[in-house]
């Protein structure tokens, strides 16, 4: 099971449909401050079902929708699709390629899809459960998280061990 690509559209600083292809091996993402690198990480957390706006640096979930710039108007929908290779059969669905999509409209409506079939958030969680793919997991390490792992509050690291169990 491996990640093939992410399609980002209308999410944070990615108003235009953008595809990030992932090959095997190590991919490094680089660029100047504020250009959108962590936003890519946020889009991955989000499509995996993250429900806490705080972990996406927001106060409300609708803040992930492209809010416009001085030259471009805001958009009304954010959509992210993650495409996973499933030749190993690790995901319990009869497809060799699985696309998980999430959409959010400014009205507040949310949609989740698996291979273009609408489903519930719960179905996305169930699909990915126990695979190590998950927004709460130790597979997404955000800026500043490393320091909190050693914080004075020994509870801060508990969730990592729970994930691995």
């Amino acid at each position: 099971m491996y990640l093939k690509r992410i399609d980002i559209s209308g999410f944070k600083s990615f108003p235009d449909p953008t595809t990030v292809l992932f090959d095997q091996g190590v991919t490094s993402v680089v660029g100047p401050n504020g250009c959108g690198k962590t936003n890519i990480l946020d889009s991955i957390r989000w499509v995996l079902g993250e429900q806490r706006p705080r972990l996406l640096r927001g106060g409300r979930m609708e803040e992930v929708i492209f809010s416009g710039t001085r030259q471009r108007p805001p958009l009304n929908m954010a959509e992210v699709t993650m495409v996973i290779d499933n030749h190993s059969g690790r995901l319990a669905v009869p497809y060799s390629e699985v696309a998980v999509s999430r959409r959010l409209f400014r009205s507040g409506e949310s949609e989740y899809l698996i291979n273009k079939t609408p489903c519930r958030l719960k179905d996305v969680y169930d699909l990915l459960a126990d695979t190590g793919f998950g927004s709460h997991s130790y597979s997404v390490i955000g800026q500043g998280m490393i320091d909190s792992l050693l914080s004075d509050n020994p509870e801060d690291r508990r969730f990592l061990f729970e994930e691995a169990a």
Binding site: Y2, L3, K12, S13, F14, P15, D16, T18, T19, V20, F22, D23, Q24, G25, V26, T27, S28, V29, V30, G31, P32, C35, G36, K37, T38, I40, L41, I44, G68, T69, R70, Q71, R72, R90, T131, G132, F133, S137, Y138, S139, V140, I141, G142, Q143, M145, I146, D147, L149, L150, D152, P154, E155, R157, R158, L160, F161, E162, E163, A164, A165
Partner: protein, 165 residues
């Protein structure tokens, strides 16, 4: 559930100890449940002693030593239950060049099991990547992805990527 957590914890602990000793070229580390009778509620304590130094508690570690210890803990968990995919956001920021090199060699060893995406400003990390994406913002506030090749004659991060469209 408590049993399973204890088993996972013990495996993670042994892995942490071995990864730490590899990253610090010696020294020793440990991770303990403060309240082993209540594994699911217990705070988790970390102990780390760099090579040749005395154990002073993790609060006395330097910024880079803390980061490397946290990386050791993360990768210790990856050994228990590998994630197929792992995205790391600027975890190398506090590391000096030698420790960055050790971190990258650790990633090299894990990359057969795990697909890594590493967001970074660090040139050594960029050089080690198999694939390199640049994120740019020519239109203010609008992110765009470009595929990049490193130009060792252009050390400036920004000029490094404008050559490729």
């Amino acid at each position: 559930a408590g049993e399973r957590f204890l088993a996972t914890f013990e495996a993670a602990r042994l892995n942490f100890q071995s990864v730490f000793t590899d990253l610090f070229q010696g020294g020793e580390a440990d991770v303990r449940l403060l309240d082993p009778e209540n594994p699911l509620e217990s705070p988790i304590e970390i102990y780390a002693r760099p090579r040749g130094k005395k154990a002073l508690g993790i609060r006395h570690l330097s910024g880079g030593e803390r980061a490397l210890t946290a990386i050791g803990m993360l990768f210790g968990l990856y050994l228990v239950k590998p994630s197929p995919f792992c995205i790391l956001d600027e975890v190398d920021a506090p590391l000096d060049d030698s420790n960055t090199g050790r971190f990258l060699r650790l990633v090299e060893r894990f990359k057969t099991k795990t697909q890594f995406v590493i967001i970074t400003h660090n040139k050594l990390t960029m050089e080690c990547a198999d694939n390199l994406y640049g994120v740019t913002m020519e239109q203010p506030g609008v992110s765009r992805l470009v595929s990049v090749r490193l130009n060792p004659d252009q050390p400036e991060e920004e000029t490094l990527f404008t050559t490729i469209r």
